[in-house]
């Protein structure tokens, strides 16, 4: 382990610094220019900040270094998730440019909080130290608690914010308690040191340690929206501004899985046999409950919320198996999942208006006749979510399932694929409304903006490209998980 001198260490966290400065700049801007319209400017600053940060993140690829006395780590695993978070922030910012104006949200704070949320994600995935992971998680969470409630005057939004905050606070407490118990039994906060210590032979597993592990699962399970810690998800996803829903469904989930994976595949990997059974049950519950409940939803945002729970379940399949090489499939899945979800939410945003969010499934009736290109784009996203080849969603499921088959988890894989058949039904239901039904009433004029087209275009291209040529992406994911070897 190389511990850098402080004055040199800042070179490694340029992306984080850029994001922080952009966020602070936007905050100051909104403080000093209360009267003027700063929406465009703030959005532009966010885009540039995220773009620059992404550039520097990619430049750091293949570094492996500990800085700030081991509190912070730059490695491929963290860089992968950081780049993913930045891509998410770029896409969500693009989505927000018009949406924020339409919904008349407070612009300065919106973009600043978005960036702080990203900062939190970046921190939580780049550390092997429990304290830093926790700080990152909190930075992210608090920003999002506020973002959920930014639809001023909308009681659902306020409810979402409060609900997420209260339940989130509980989950944080669980996580912190878990960390405390593990620290109490081992005296170590660095996940690699814990792994070293528990395998050294001096360590006897105690109930307190086991309880700590279980509490960590609860805490991360909450952030990844896994059953039975998913209760908040549908309400929060439905009530929050749609752009923030997209942000939570992709960014928070990815970052939480990143930290979850790092902790469990290093510190707690020696106890694989202890936690794998528990996660098996959680994975099955998450997939099944998510999919079956999604069947009954008539609101697209709620349906996508349950579908995102189900997808967490698919990811947990690979997680449960505990194959270090194949954990790359989790990273690939998260990458793919990001594009299909953001794409789908972009369409949801595009069809909504201030007075009428148009999230009911009946608003999609006859969409193919009125807006064939939008219907086609939505079909691509939904079919990818359903796992129909050659779209990337299929490849994601393919690697996750092959992971399970390789390790002999046949039942888990069978439950997984049968779940994906159930899921096909509700995804196809939307397609059915779009293509097979006649329009019911008018959904009114759309509010198009080139930014939506950019997001939708990028997402479609990514899904097709990653579906047909998954190789380079999976190889990157494999390089990222090399840290577990």
């Amino acid at each position: 382990m190389v511990v850098m001198k402080p004055e040199l260490a800042f070179g490694w966290i340029i992306p984080e610094i850029v994001i922080t400065l952009s966020a602070v700049f936007i905050l100051l801007l909104s403080a000093f220019r209360r009267k003027g319209d700063i929406g465009r400017l703030a959005g532009g600053v966010s885009l540039i900040g995220a773009g620059v940060a992404l550039f520097f993140t990619c430049r750091l690829w293949n570094s492996a270094i500990d800085i700030f006395n081991g509190l912070y780590t730059i490695d491929n695993f963290g860089l992968f998730f950081k780049a993913l978070a930045l891509v998410i922030s770029l896409l969500v910012t693009l989505l927000s440019l018009r949406y924020v104006e339409r919904e008349e949200m407070i612009k300065g704070e919106y973009y600043a909080l978005l960036l702080f949320g990203i900062l939190g994600m970046m921190i939580m995935v780049s550390s092997n130290h429990f304290v830093t992971i926790f700080i990152g998680l909190e930075v992210m969470s608090i920003a999002i608690y506020v973002l959920c409630g930014l639809l001023i005057g909308n009681p659902r939004s306020a409810e979402a914010s409060l609900k997420y905050f209260l339940l989130g606070a509980f989950a944080t407490a669980f996580l912190l308690y878990g960390i405390a118990l593990i620290y109490g039994t081992t005296g170590i906060l660095d996940v690699r040191e814990i792994a070293r210590y528990v395998t050294s032979g001096n360590f006897l597993i105690t109930p307190a340690f086991m309880a700590g592990m279980a509490l960590l699962i609860v805490g991360f399970g909450f952030k990844t929206a896994s059953v039975p810690f998913h209760m908040w998800t549908p309400d929060v996803y439905e009530g929050a501004p749609t752009s923030i829903t997209a942000y939570m469904a992709t960014g928070v989930k990815a970052a939480a899985f990143g930290a979850f994976l790092r902790v469990f595949y290093t510190a707690l990997y020696p106890f694989l046999t202890e936690w794998t059974g528990l996660l098996w049950i959680i994975a099955v519950l998450t997939m099944t409950l998510g999919n079956i409940t999604a069947l009954m939803q008539n609101d697209i945002k709620r349906m996508l919320a349950y579908s995102s729970i189900a997808h967490a379940g698919y990811i947990l399949i690979a997680f449960t198996v505990g194959d270090k090489v194949f954990s790359a499939s989790i990273l690939y899945y998260l990458l793919v999942y990001t594009f299909m979800n953001i794409g789908a939410f972009a369409v949801v945003i595009l069809l909504g208006r201030k007075e009428a969010p148009n999230t009911g499934i009946e608003s999609y009736a006859g969409l193919a006749t009125r807006h064939p290109m939008i219907a086609l784009a939505m079909s691509v996203f939904l079919l990818s979510l359903a796992g129909v080849p050659p779209l990337a969603g299929f490849m994601g499921k393919f690697y996750v399932l092959s992971d399970a088959i390789k390790a002999g988890y046949y039942w888990l894989a069978i439950i997984g694929v049968l779940n994906s058949v159930v899921a096909v039904y509700y995804y196809l239901r939307v397609i059915m409304y779009m293509y097979f039904k006649e329009p019911e009433g008018e959904i009114g004029r759309m509010d198009p903006s080139p930014a939506y087209a950019v997001v939708i275009g990028i997402s479609i291209w990514a899904l097709i490209h990653m579906g047909i040529f998954p190789r380079s992406f999976l190889l990157i994911a494999r390089e990222s998980v090399n840290i577990f070897m």
């Binding site: 129909v388 399932l401 088959i405 390789k406 196809l428 059915m432 097979f436 190789r471």
Partner: protein
């Protein structure tokens, strides 16, 4: 190995390319869209002809192979090739697609562009599934077939189209996802066994799999294909899908999509897991026999012509399965031949019903009667196709069915006897339907002024009738292409079973 010109890739992806161009054409000009699609599908058919004429009849191996790396770290390749089984099915596909475009000429007026684009996408998927020799590649095309077919049924179908489309999608999906798991299990088994992790089918043919594992894997593959065929207990999606689909959708569904099931057995399930296939042969043969007889009885009771033909598919595909699982030369060749015949004759029947439906907007048998008086030309074609469907000597159906029965008798006399009874039932329902629709007095006033078939429709039916007689009278032209493949097929299976079970008896002659 012909690596000079990637003929198969061109054939597979040409329709996709055409579909993409089609999307750019102006929506306001449906004639342009139709003519454009027609020309390109005809070119596509022309392009597939060299497969037939340049096909090497002497070898049982794969021909026109293309082999590119796709994802070498994972052992996924882009491998294409055809043999005597798939080559003819490729031709059938490109041929029927042309007819489908022609028969949709006037019947599709809504979302014309999307209709033909879906059709072309479907063609790409079908051809890809037929030519793929890598299991992942195959699976991708296999699943890809579902989406355009789903749209064809759901958008341009009949009144209960939504129900039928979703049922079709879900039924097929359940089977195929389990097959996906079996594919992975096979991959890891072979990889651990030999150190070579690959999805290359030709390598996996060499896999040495314990019998118990074979049963499980075979079951997963067989379920997927049996749903597609469809075999007896899994057939319920078919009548709905057929009845609701537009005419061209029914033609391609019966003509090619169902063959994907039998083709899947031939290409994957049987050669990969020969012992399991052998052990399952009695079960599958009995299900096939039930399908033959049950399908025929259901046909007799139908009041809707299209539904009747749909059930007749269950019956006919039962013959194909029976022939394949007889595991002898006659049964196998008959099965392969009958796959083609069924595509031609049942496709033809659906076309005829579609033509009648376009004029009368009903398919109920009771609404007709005496049509031969007002539509004499249609009556002739209808008669010929009907006779082909009941396997009259001289038509293509006879050759296939006769060989299948021969094979069935050789493997088990009681199978042969039961299957032959299905032939009689087949004649009953087909001729009875023909009689009720075409002969007798015109009972309904609406039928008096029906117009006889147009030139376009005559062309379509002439093409079908040509193949009915050509394949019936000069079947040698086709069997020459199948012979080597079929012989090699049985030979491989025999050696593979013998090599894993040196002392085991070979239960067929």
């Amino acid at each position: 190995m012909d690596m000079v010109f990637p003929l198969l890739s061109t054939i597979i992806f040409l329709p996709l390319g055409v579909a993409l161009v089609l999307i750019l054409l102006p929506r306001k000009n449906p004639l342009l869209i139709k003519v454009f699609t027609l020309i390109w599908t005809m070119l596509e058919f022309g392009l597939s002809l060299p497969l037939f004429f340049n096909f090497n009849e002497k070898t049982a191996g794969m021909q026109f192979m293309e082999n590119l790396d796709w994802f070498p770290e994972f052992g996924i390749g882009y491998i294409l090739g055809v043999d005597g089984i798939s080559m003819l099915l490729v031709l059938l596909t490109t041929f029927l697609t042309v007819l489908c475009v022609l028969c949709s000429w006037n019947s599709i007026t809504d979302k014309v562009k999307e209709y033909y684009a879906s059709f072309l996408l479907l063609e790409t998927a079908m051809l890809g599934a037929l030519c793929a020799l890598d299991l992942v590649l195959f699976y991708i095309f296999w699943e890809l077939m579902l989406v355009p077919m789903y749209l064809l049924i759901g958008v341009w179908g009949g009144p209960r189209r939504i129900y039928a489309a979703i049922k079709f999608f879900l039924f097929t999906m359940v089977g195929s996802v389990l097959m996906l798991l079996a594919i992975m299990a096979l991959y890891f088994h072979y990889g651990r066994d030999t150190g070579l992790y690959t999805f290359n089918l030709l390598d996996l043919y060499k896999a040495n799999i314990p019998v118990m594992k074979q049963y499980w894997l075979f079951a997963a593959f067989a379920l997927s294909f049996a749903i597609k065929v469809p075999m007896f207990p899994f057939h319920t999606w078919l009548p709905d899908a057929h009845t609701e689909a537009p005419t061209a959708g029914s033609v391609i569904l019966a003509g090619v999509l169902l063959k994907m099931g039998t083709y899947g057995f031939l290409r994957f399930a049987i050669p990969l897991f020969p012992q399991a296939a052998l052990a399952a042969a009695p079960l599958i043969s009995i299900l096939a026999l039930i399908g033959i007889i049950y399908g025929a009885i259901m046909c007799i009771m139908q009041t809707d012509m299209k539904r009747l033909i749909a059930y007749s598919s269950v019956s006919h595909l039962g013959y194909v399965m029976l022939g394949i699982f007889a595991f002898n030369m006659q049964g196998l060749e008959g099965g392969i031949y009958q796959m083609l015949n069924h595509g031609i004759s049942t496709g033809g029947l659906f076309l005829i019903v579609g033509m009648i439906y376009e004029r009368r907007h009903t398919r109920m048998i009771a609404d007709f009667g005496g049509l031969s008086k007002v539509m004499p030309r249609l009556a002739v074609f209808f008669m010929i196709i009907t006779l082909s469907s009941i396997a009259l000597p001289g038509t293509n159906g006879f050759v296939g069915e006769f060989l299948i029965l021969l094979g069935a008798f050789r493997s088990n006399v009681s199978y042969g006897v039961l299957a032959t009874s299905g032939v009689i039932l087949g004649a009953v329902y087909m001729l009875w339907m023909f009689q009720r629709v075409m002969f007798g007095q015109i009972t309904k006033e609406e039928n008096r002024n029906l117009k006889d078939i147009t030139k376009r429709e005559t062309v379509i039916l002439c093409a079908i009738v040509f193949f009915i007689f050509f394949m019936g009278l000069y079947s040698q032209a086709f069997f020459r292409k199948i012979d080597a493949t079929a012989a090699g097929y049985l030979q491989n299976m025999q050696t593979k079973i013998a090599s894993t079970h040196p002392a085991g008896p070979v239960p067929w002659r």
